[in-house]
Symmetry: C2
Subunit: 150 residues, 2 copies
């Protein structure tokens, strides 16, 4: 994000969430802060809704599951998070930059795979033995001519 409005204080962490939410007309609440906080720190990973629930709850015990689901959906709509569907579970990813994922069939962990250049990805940072590649594109098909970029 190169262009940042610096007319005011640039307070770092907790404030950013609030700013992001307000920017999209969403209210700022302790619950939302706790939920967003579940993605911070190095070990954020790709938590499921339930994992987010557990993490956020350790910080805000009254938090309810429903709120977590609602909030995650709103964060996704707002572009703060993305979703990765793995089997029948949805995993949430706070890394909204362009990247892909590698899933280990053995330990089930989900790794980020970063693009290098236009259509290449780097698999050399770690040692990955790729057995299957799944590509899912989405957008608008011919019959549903898109409104957004015509």
């Amino acid at each position: 994000m190169p262009n940042r409005r610096s007319d005011e204080q640039v307070i770092a962490e907790p404030n950013t969430v609030a700013a992001l939410l307000r920017e999209r007309g969403l209210r700022v609440t302790p619950q939302r802060r706790a939920i967003f906080a579940a993605f911070e720190g190095g070990r954020a990973g790709h938590p499921s809704a339930d994992e987010v629930y557990r993490r956020a709850r350790s910080q805000l015990p009254e938090l309810s599951r429903g709120t977590v689901y609602n909030t995650l959906n709103e964060f996704v709509s707002a572009g703060l998070l993305t979703v990765v569907s793995i089997g029948r579970v949805q995993l949430y990813d706070a890394n909204t930059a362009d990247h892909h994922h590698f899933r280990c069939r053995s330990c089930n962990r989900l790794y980020d795979v970063h693009p290098i250049g236009a259509n290449k990805i780097s698999l050399t940072d770690d040692f990955f033995m790729v057995e299957q590649t799944t590509v899912l594109l989405d957008g608008f098909c011919g019959e549903c001519a898109s409104p957004s970029a015509a």
Copy 2:
């Protein structure tokens, strides 16, 4: 890697199903034939388990949902089908050849996208407006270094 470039010869006669099943030590039953038949014909598409259930049931009314789920899972394990996770729904695909998918955000339809050459795909057959690309690799990570046979 993929050599079967010819046609839709992948799906075939009732007899082939039996052969395929037997080949993997699976028993051949009317239920399994009906379930497999749900993928035959031009409009096979990418049915959900429930859609398979509906289709197969029209041909074998006593069929139960549980059997459909069990069977689909076995077919996937046996390599006869593959799964595409879209949100919290799993769609089954009888096309086991190397290919990808395009999902329309408007009509929700799932189209096949065929690879042309090593790392290219063709989007020109129809008119697709791609808004997002999701790539999911899977296999074994460094820590789980694992030979395919064990």
